[in-house]
Subunit: 146 residues, 2 copies
């Protein structure tokens, strides 16, 4: 694959509400999206947008809060009660091609390809095969990416 | 402050050489800078550049490897032998203004303002005051930022 945009970094938090206040009041974020539920992953999600040199299309902060008992981040928050950096997400033009390449390299992919927080297909690769970083691979939304 | 660019995410690694191979061969990075020593922080540093919609000015991956016995990341790697996400770094137009604002909010700043990997002044804020994330605040290099 060719490295695409660092779409977002996933940041676990016990409270999206408190995190929104933090990003707005302490860090001065001016563009925070509406939170929404992503029940497939067992998380509530909120994107904080950051600038680049040419607009607000920078790497997003994806705030994720547990949703329900089966949340994927319950264990992470048990170890890190304040929250913290949970994963990174890179874009690719075609998810199936990327998945085949990771499989060919023997990287452990976590579960099936599914629809992620941006409405496009995603999969996760095991942190032990990615230098300690849980890594999400995401297909670039149509009409974006150049 | 007003949230600036997410300049980089700091990623600790036991071996920059192995990480370069990972980013090049597994993730397909095409723009990896030359590693250099930053003895003030006790780290060797290597930037992996990522694209945005308009160029290669995306959030960088800052690979950091311990340099010497007094490295700031020795403890982190003892807990995370494979490496992993170590800190995030946001840009500000003026470092002294930003420092005063964090101090006014009672955030614990770690040590003096000093020169960081991009040659501009930086300081770090304690992860316990930043929702579990060690946070670097960096003055935007002159001639960049709009």
């Amino acid at each position: 694959m060719k490295l695409g945009r660092l779409n977002h970094i996933g940041v676990a938090t016990p409270s999206i509400k408190a995190s929104i206040a933090h990003y707005r009041d302490t860090l001065g974020a001016t563009d925070i999206e509406e939170p929404f539920d992503l029940p497939e992953q067992g998380v509530k999600v909120c994107f904080v947008n950051t600038p680049t040199d040419s607009g607000m299309n920078g790497t997003q902060i994806e705030l994720i809060e547990p949703l329900g008992e089966q949340s994927a981040i319950t264990g992470f928050l048990a170890k890190n009660p304040l929250g913290g950096q949970h994963h990174v997400c890179f874009e690719v033009p075609d998810i199936e091609t990327a998945r085949a390449e990771f499989e060919q390299q023997g990287k452990r992919i976590l579960g099936p390809t599914r629809i992620g927080a941006h409405g496009t297909p995603i999969f996760f690769v095991h942190p032990k095969d990615m230098q300690g970083m849980l890594t999400e691979i995401m297909e670039t939304p149509k009409g974006e990416g150049h």
